[in-house]
Symmetry: C2
Subunit: 349 residues, 2 copies
């Protein structure tokens, strides 16, 4: 029997790059319909089975990926990792890979679980979420030569150059930049920021997106911008309090961009239609309440994680056509979802 067709055979037959074939398999919606059809025809004609690419998993054992499932979080944004898990499971399935769930009480316990799962050959790679600076889990996985990818950057000095730590993350900086830019484009000038207490890798990154854009594109000085930012622990009531505090400290804001939909919902309820509000995570609540929000594009995050995990990361262009600077990392651009709350209502104009 001849060798099974590879992804390269499909790419050659369809006259596209391997990356495009991978996109058709993992994120078909980002491929132009005509190209998609051509690739799908080639897949059918050659009898290519996407499952074969699963065999590329480095350790070639169980075709199973281990991932820790955190306890239920009750916050509005708590569902983001669940949505990532859905995307990851669906896309892994198409590659013939399965997801094994486990729980852990803390990082040390999670390392014990890694050891058990590895020793039992239950999984041959890991996906980690909720990374933090100097994460002992990462150290253990690297020292033990395990195959892993994190959703979340290392938050260290050498994020982009670390050769051992493959990661995918969402570019929160550009998300807040886009949100701020959108409100500036609506003619708003007094735009505040409601975020989380520092230090927070994710939170500080989002804050900088607002801060730098207000200076570079809004014409503000850093000093004048100072009273326009409030840090609160994530909750709806804190979002309402933060907006009230901003109004007091600044003499009034036209709009706010927020680190989360919880904070945005609170700000929306406290500010009424006269204050534009943009949240983060595009949760079902934001959609239901007409609150504009920055969407993480978790389908692209999951696709990136699987590409790095299966070693299928030889591609050289991103979704927008720009070259990938380092194929060991992916920084996914989030997408602004504009809704009613993204414009100040006429009643107060």
């Amino acid at each position: 029997m001849a060798n099974l067709p590879t992804i390269l055979d499909v790419a050659l037959a369809a006259g596209v790059s391997r990356q495009t074939v991978s996109n058709v398999l993992n994120s078909p919606d980002i491929v132009r319909p005509a190209t998609r059809e051509r690739v799908q025809s080639a897949i059918s004609e050659l009898g290519y089975r996407p499952h074969a690419s699963a065999r590329r998993l480095r350790t070639r054992k169980s075709s199973t990926i281990g991932i820790r499932l955190d306890p239920v979080t009750n916050g509005i944004s708590g569902s983001v990792l669940d949505r990532f898990l859905h995307e990851l499971t669906a896309q892994a399935d198409r590659l013939g890979l399965r997801i094994l769930l486990f729980t852990a009480t803390d990082p040390e316990d999670e390392i014990q679980q890694f050891r058990r799962l590895r020793d039992g050959a239950d999984v041959d790679s890991f996906v980690l979420t909720s990374t933090f600076h100097d994460d002992p889990r990462i150290r253990w996985l690297i020292e033990n030569g395990e195959s892993f990818v994190t959703f979340g950057r290392p938050w260290g000095a050498d994020d982009m150059s670390d050769p051992h730590h493959l990661w995918v993350d969402v570019d929160g900086y550009s998300g807040l930049r886009d949100a701020t830019r959108h409100l500036l484009g609506q003619g708003l000038r007094r735009i505040g920021y409601i975020g989380w207490p520092s230090p927070s890798g994710t939170g500080d990154d989002r804050r900088r997106g607002w801060h730098d854009t207000m200076i570079a594109e809004g014409g503000w000085s850093a000093t004048d911008l100072d009273p326009f930012q409030v840090a609160k622990v994530d909750s709806v009531s804190n979002g309402a309090e933060a907006l009230a505090a901003l109004q007091l400290a600044t003499g009034g804001v036209d709009g706010v961009v927020c680190a989360s939909d919880s904070l945005a919902l609170g700000a929306r309820m406290a500010g009424g239609p006269g204050v534009a509000v943009i949240g983060f995570d595009d949760t079902p609540v934001a959609a239901a309440m007409g609150i504009a929000s920055v969407e993480q594009q978790l389908d692209l995050v999951a696709a990136g994680v699987l590409e790095l995990l299966t070693g299928a990361h030889g591609g050289k262009v991103q979704r927008d056509g720009t070259p990938v600077s380092d194929p060991r990392h992916r920084l996914v651009a989030p997408r602004l979802v504009v809704r009613d709350s993204a414009a100040p209502h006429s009643v107060q104009r």
Copy 2:
């Protein structure tokens, strides 16, 4: 080396039933603190390892449970099955059992997945969700002698007597009865119901809970009650429309009980503080918006599923002390979470 201690050894040492030991392991919060401590001491002294109970799984292969993960649902209540998965994973972990996720496009595809996972000995039992009347998946699992438990009753004529189909479900009828009773107890009389189009096993069950309580405890006739019910597809905007329709059809309602938090949120936004509102599912949104809601108690659902799956269902009493009529099924009573929306605001009284 002597035999490993069993759950029975622990029960004898602690002077309790096997069921109580199982409860301490699976749902410690339902056991009285003094009893719990006695059982935990016995576990420590004997060196009993709960993992051993995982070996009871009928087919004794991989100690892994397969469960289908559905695509992301964007509705507010879509997170209920995710929350169940979190509970199931955490509790399974304590029993030394793991959860393997897969996806399926439809029931036939899911059956193919069952076959693949069984043939590969990847899992030795299945947990199913979203059951429906005359479900082909259930038929296949029974015909093939697979070990499985469903979260969701069969919705057939013989739900309670079916000896092959082990299931756990939430008693939506009693949830809506409790919600309706609560509003009647507040002195409200004109209480409407906003639910889903019939037929819907879950939805019809919830509607009957309201309906029967209004007649038995509210003094209504079925005929007079007719205009007090509206059926809409689940969404926030439909909840708002439903409330407006109810107001028109009835000349005004004091309160509404709803089949979901999405409908309740819409009703709350349309009705304002003058109309009491109670939702279903106790989602993070309901908590954030101060909307009273019926909580499914997914921790108890997960505990019941694992108990049936591991064969540890010899117990004879439920949480409230009443005997279990048939240990092959569990109907978990939900819990009313009272919040601001559960009482009409004084402005309209």
